[in-house]
């Protein structure tokens, strides 16, 4: 049975194959040949462009609704449920990494004093920036719930700018200062734990920025209305999660 015609039931797409290939090339590059990392990133970016285009054109959106068993999660859309389950796995990733950090710290006996190693002011600033970005994200959601597309775009833009500021302070000011003072990633366990955990968090912020960028793109094409804005809510949930993780990392590394 041939279906090269896009039908209701035919949801075929090249994106899964290309994204998987891009990630594989990236990992191969990490292990054996650095330039391949760039190739992998290029492939992933290309696939993401296609993915976002498809998302904006709503090519794969659900159309038919059939009567289904819904108990006990009647009011939760499948995208939101999927995202919550994803967040559960993320909680375990960060949870196990934090546990590993606590394990090596307790095993170590002595550990450098946090307030002397890290710039607590900058850390606090970043915390406030991230919290504010969560606020703007929520305001954006409320805006679109009321049908205010312009408000949504302003809030998304603010979130994006604040997230960018977070990364800028961390990667542009904090980390260079630490590295020049000898606190480098291979200088021992304290630096290892700090850079890996905050680094992974920063990667999550960066991914969040890409997602927010996608929302801005879709909003500018008029893709969101007061009744149709599932992506805003779900990506907002992800953003809040990334914020909450920082709420744990900040005291664990900067204060104690």
């Amino acid at each position: 049975m041939k279906e090269d015609v896009q039908t209701e039931e035919n949801k075929s797409s090249f994106v899964p194959l290309i994204i998987a290939a891009g990630v594989a090339v990236l990992l191969l590059g990490l292990a054996i040949y650095i330039p391949l990392i760039v190739a992998g990133l290029v492939i992933i970016t290309a696939a993401l462009f296609k993915l976002f285009k498809d998302g904006a054109s709503e090519k794969y959106a659900e159309r038919k609704q059939i009567e289904e068993e819904k108990y006990p999660l009647e009011s939760v859309s499948k995208e939101k449920l999927g995202l919550w389950i994803f967040l559960a796995s993320e909680i375990l990733i960060f949870g196990s990494l934090i546990t590993a950090y606590l394990y090596v710290r307790i095993s170590s006996g002595s550990w450098p004093v946090a307030t002397q190693t890290h710039n607590v002011i900058l850390g606090m600033t970043n915390t406030i920036i991230l919290l504010t970005s969560s606020l703007t994200m929520i305001l954006g959601l409320y805006s679109i719930r009321l049908g205010n597309v312009k408000g949504l775009k302003i809030c998304l833009g603010s979130t994006f700018a604040l997230g960018l500021a977070f990364l800028g302070i961390k990667l542009g000011i904090e980390w260079p200062a630490l590295i020049s003072s000898g606190f480098t990633i291979n200088s021992g366990l304290p630096a290892s734990s700090y850079f890996v955990l905050t680094g992974l968090h920063a990667v999550h912020v960066a991914v969040g920025l890409v997602a927010v960028g996608y929302l801005m793109f879709r909003a500018s094409m008029g893709g969101f209305t007061s009744s149709k804005h599932v992506a805003v809510e779900n990506i907002g949930l992800y953003w809040h999660f990334v914020d909450i993780v920082w709420m744990f990392l900040f005291p664990l590394f900067y204060l104690i």
Binding site: K11, P16, A31, I93, A100, S107
Partner: protein, 538 residues
Amino acid sequence: MYGEFSIKEWLTTTNHKRVGILYIVTAVFFLIVAGSFGMLMRTQLATPNENFLNPFTYGQIVTLHGLLMILWVLTPLGAGLANYIVPLQIGAKDLAFPRLNATSYWTYLFSGLLLVGTVFLPGGGANTGWTLYAPLNTIQFSPQSGATLAALALALFAVSVTMSSINFITTIVKHRAKGITWTRLPVFTWSILMTMALALFAFPPLASGLLLLTTDRILGTVFFSSTQGGSILWEELFWFFGHPEVYIVVFPALGIIAEVFMTFAKKQLFAKKIFIIEFAAVTFLSLGVWMHHMFTTGVDYNTLQVFSFTTLAISVPFEGLVLGLVLTLYKGHIKLTAPMLYCLAAIFTVTLGGVTGVLQAFPVLDYAFNGSYWIVGHFHYVMAGTTLFALIAGLYYWWPKMTKRKYNETFAKITFAFSFIGFNVLYFPYFFLVDMPRRISTYTASTGWASLNFDSTVGAFVFGPAILLTLLNLILSYRKNDACESNPWEAKEMEWTGNYSGLTPEPQNVDITNAERIVTGSQSVPEKSEIPNNGDLI
């Protein structure tokens, strides 16, 4: 049938049936690769002082055999069948996120290719055993880039599984057809739900450990090269994943055995509600037993004793599951088809493998077992035995549904006999090799291990070819021109209703308008008053 689709259609498909077939075919490919490694190992170990595989080659083969079999063969075979069958069983038109499903598959395939590719790199692949213990896995003791790539491939696989678990859990929660309430959910779907929920919690710690290992190897962090972190940190992270992983491997098998027993004993599952409760208990408890893999690490003994208790505790509901399956046969009308035979064999191996596991739950007994061939015997009984046999049974059982063909029943029974006999000759001797360490590439004649090892290898040369012939039987059937009827087993579950579904993209081929009647087990369409109170099946 499959040839009607173009390559492009296979590369871009997101349909659950086709993705399921892709999983199964790929898993079979890795089965042949990893199985060949097993045959090589058994050939070398048949006689003392063999060195046709030098120790480094042997070590890589041991590592790949373990990693591939557990993660790239057994888990995906279950996932492939789940992909095909679960949406049909619950009357959903596809999984909740079809493109994510396809992404799961392609990342799985590429991660496996990367892993197998590590042996071709200069310096070779990982040489640590599948458990990748620290500090042997660090750059100091495994300087080859192949070891880094192996860790990354494993991490990619963890990502693939996490995507699958998000997909399956959402699908089963949100996309059941009207009438399929939680108590009426088919057993195989229940087993997949448990598998995926467990995978969601088990794989992240592995991913974290691999992240720390990768930063150690590439960026110079010191998590596993320091003594404050080191061996114990790795073991904690790895086994927190590793123990639930083996339940992830075996759960789909239990679900398949339940389905096959129901169909070929023409009976409902014995005490389905209790079965599901026990299943949930095993799922939950499996997150709290991991340190029984660490009984010889010298960790505080009282802590280890706690885990000994939890390990013994988990054996209670688990044996309850096995008994529930056996009691399903009670007063049934039993037909000994090939899938039925494989499932009966699987019950035997899970009982034997399970009780040896109970013996290992005592730390003082484990002092003798740990790191020896007894352990190898134990886990091959439950994995190569129960899981593989049950998955083969699942393939046989659902073959007419997936391909509209019937394999040769007589040939299947013959290969079953050889598989079962070969399996036991291959693995039973291991329980008598308690002093033989694992992963050794050879041994001297003075150890006295030679005769048992030789016997075991004889079994391997019966078991291995028998598995290949099983696969051949399936492949040959699919090429026949005459199709079989759509429900040759007269099975009663949802996936058998409606028309043959094959690989067509049409979403609803099962009889979802009658879902409620079907899952409550009514044979004919009853009057309203005949439907039991809440559809319970016990």
